[in-house]
């Protein structure tokens, strides 16, 4: 549906208000469907781009491979959280009821593993969950309240029903004109360059 257009300009430019010397920061290309995005992502990956991303309203399966994303280290963070929770839970109970203020309850030992398991288990889960949530935010650089992508009105549909590829100006292969032509050629139906 989107034949590569030969006439210029190949893209729209969005410039920040009051910008003295506008420079491009990011280029976005819109795709109609997830399938188009998927095949385009493979080509962008094979072209050797490094600082680029896909934006989709839902996680598209297979896109990680098409983009060449390596597995995240998040599970190790969660494991660390869980380990801390379990050991910390046992130490806390042993120290509080056995050392700091020994509690004698029905002649039972001051500290025993079985009676300490429920609390240690819950703390394992709690700290693992903090690891999973906090780790997700940290690895993704969230919260990030300002993003040049938000300048584009077109990009608002990335969270609703459109699929985007963004290429940052920091990428070594970034060049607005040639990149725009390339993306048109692989199925993008609209290109915008966001300047700052």
């Amino acid at each position: 549906m989107s034949e590569p257009k030969t006439h210029e300009p190949a893209f729209d430019t969005i410039t920040a208000e009051g910008s003295v010397d506008p420079k491009p920061v990011v280029l976005i290309a819109e795709f109609e469907t997830a399938d188009q995005l998927m095949s385009a992502a493979e080509k962008v990956r094979d072209e050797g781009f490094k600082r680029w991303d896909c934006h989709t309203p839902y996680p598209v399966h297979g896109l990680d491979g098409a983009m060449g994303i390596r597995p995240t280290i998040l599970p190790w963070i969660v494991l660390g959280g869980g380990f801390t929770g379990f050991c910390g839970g046992l130490l806390m109970q042993g120290w509080m009821n056995g050392i700091s203020y020994p509690f004698l309850i029905s002649g039972k030992p001051f500290f025993s593993i079985p009676a300490s398991i429920p609390v240690a288990f819950e703390l394992t889960i709690l700290l693992s969950a903090f690891g999973a949530f906090g780790g997700m935010l940290a690895l993704n650089g969230l919260p990030r309240m300002f993003n040049p992508l938000f300048r584009s009105d077109r990009f608002r549909r990335a969270t609703a029903d459109r699929f985007f590829i963004s290429i940052e100006a920091r990428d070594r292969r970034f060049d607005a004109d040639s990149n725009a032509r390339f993306l048109r050629g692989i199925g993008a139906n609209a290109i915008e360059v966001i300047e700052e």
Binding site: P71, L74, P118
Partner: protein, 498 residues
């Protein structure tokens, strides 16, 4: 019956809500062709419009009425909680043998309700049950609010509510720590962890949808509020990658958690020496009961909500039918546990134990016991019939019965065992007082008020997940396009999607 109801002006859909969706029966089963989970002509655009429309359109008459009614019921809490804190627990009906009354009954009831959300969101996620996506957001919200209602009761039932912080292991002027060998303290950790993890899971699942609402916002208040809540989410696939892994990990953590929480709640009873409480069947029995009551509450909430907000094509009859099947299954598990308790009391041969159970069924609280059995064991049996499973009126009524029955289950367990314990001279009859009833009903007001606010201000359906289900369905429907070698569902290959 339907025609009759449509004549009542307040039930007419155009007055109640923006009910523009139509009921499409997708419950027929054929091994050749699977029925879709999302019916009607829906794609990513219409799903976004429908779900965001609930937040963006003017509030409907039905919603306003529901909200005001809930809010006025919540007022009961505002009256009776200060009354309780001012006068002390003497305003309750608790007496000498029955030291645990409505407060603990309500606590266990609400914690139980709270179990369905995490079951739907975590366990069904691990089992790859795609139907969870239409209902998980609302069910998780329900969980959060139910656990909030539950948390109210330990806070106020300690007598001197201003010392409630003694429940936590905080340094204090007495240099004293909590007793970690008490199941009541395990409860603090279990319910506290459950609330926190459910909240994180719910919020994290909502971030992409909040970003959708932010991107559609047309005034600065919405842009600011949803912008802050969505934390700058752009739908980036590098972020989705970490996000999905995190979601999977949270689901795997929440699964043992949800099973542990009601087990720990049951330890409050099972670890004691009271006849009728001291049984090893309690943890699985409580967990089954919790899922049972939670699913019933989900049905109670979703049947009117899908009508009111025009979501019949997203929360379809097949979703409701599946929930009814779970209700029937867990109802029978609960019924089995009731029978097993009697068997163990007889087979164990302990006199007091035998008495406790005979007394439960035929003693002074027999009326409560038989309400419980008829609501929990008998009423869900109607779901053997498909006509009943797919009839929204019948399922709504059964879900109300189950809610009532599960409340009575906790009442029966708590009160009958205490009222007639080891010392016949101390036996008494427990009757609730006005403050008991006021706080119980007020908690429902809190629950429904929070749920009403949730419906209006947060995305009711997990849009991003539903879109994923639609995409999968489009890829796996053989009638739409000829089957290619290397289906798009499989691992990415250069050919996929081209």
């Amino acid at each position: 019956m339907k025609h009759l109801l449509e004549k009542i002006p307040f039930i007419r859909p155009e007055i109640l809500g923006n009910a523009q969706s139509q009921e499409i029966d997708n419950t027929s089963y054929s091994p050749v062709e699977r029925q879709p989970w999302i019916t009607g002509e829906n794609d990513n655009t219409t799903i976004t419009d429908k779900v965001c429309g609930i937040l963006e359109d003017k509030p409907t008459f039905g919603w306003v009425m529901f909200f005001l009614l809930s809010l006025s019921v919540l007022g009961l809490l505002g009256v009776f909680v200060p009354f309780l804190i001012f006068w002390g627990v003497g305003v309750w009906g608790v007496n000498n043998p029955v030291g645990w009354g409505y407060a603990i009954v309500n606590f266990v009831f609400w914690v139980g309700i709270g179990h369905a959300g995490t079951l739907i969101s975590a366990i069904l996620f691990l089992f790859r049950q795609k139907w969870r996506t239409s209902i998980n957001r609302a069910a998780e919200a329900m969980t959060i609010f139910a656990v909030m209602c539950a948390g109210l009761f330990p806070g106020i039932h300690v007598g001197r509510a201003w010392f409630a912080y003694w429940m936590f292991p905080l340094p204090n002027q007495m240099e004293l720590w909590p007793n970690f060998r008490s199941p009541l303290l395990w409860d603090v950790f279990a319910v506290g962890t459950y609330f926190t993890v459910s909240l994180l899971f719910w919020y994290m699942g909502m971030v992409p949808d909040l970003a959708t609402v932010r991107d559609r916002a047309n005034n600065w208040i919405r842009r600011l509020a949803y912008g802050a809540l969505s934390m700058g989410w752009t739908g980036s696939n590098r972020q989705w990658h970490v996000y999905e892994r995190s979601y999977l990990l949270l689901a795997s953590l929440a699964t043992p958690l949800v099973l542990s929480v009601h087990s720990v709640v049951s330890f409050d009873f099972a670890v004691s020496q009271v006849a009728g409480w001291h049984t090893t069947i309690f943890p699985p029995y409580f967990v089954a009961g919790a899922i049972f009551s939670g699913f019933a509450m989900v049905v109670t909430l979703l049947v009117p909500a899908r009508q009111l907000f025009g979501l019949k094509e997203i929360i379809t009859l097949r979703h409701l039918e599946n929930m009814n099947k779970v209700i029937m299954l867990t109802g029978m598990l609960v019924g089995y546990a009731y029978a097993q308790e009697f068997f163990m009391a007889w087979y164990g041969g302990v006199k007091v134990e035998k008495f406790a159970f005979m007394n439960r069924a035929f003693g002074q609280y027999a009326w409560a016991y038989w309400i419980m059995v008829s609501c929990n064991v008998i009423s869900p049996q109607i779901f053997w019939f498909k006509k009943a499973r797919t009839n929204i009126w019948i399922m709504f009524v059964v879900s109300i019965f189950v809610n009532i029955g599960m409340w009575f289950e906790r009442f029966v367990i708590t009160v009958t065992s205490l009222a007639n314990d080891y010392t016949p001279a101390a036996w008494d009859y427990y009757t609730p007082k006005l403050a008991d009833v006021g706080i119980m009903i007020g908690a429902f007001g809190l629950f429904f008020t929070l749920f009403a606010l949730f419906c209006r201000f947060l995305p009711f359906i997990a849009m991003s997940e539903v879109k994923g289900v639609i995409a999968d369905a489009a890829h796996s429907t053989p009638s739409e396009k000829p089957v290619e070698s290397g289906d798009a569902e499989s691992a990415p290959s250069p050919a996929a999607g081209s």
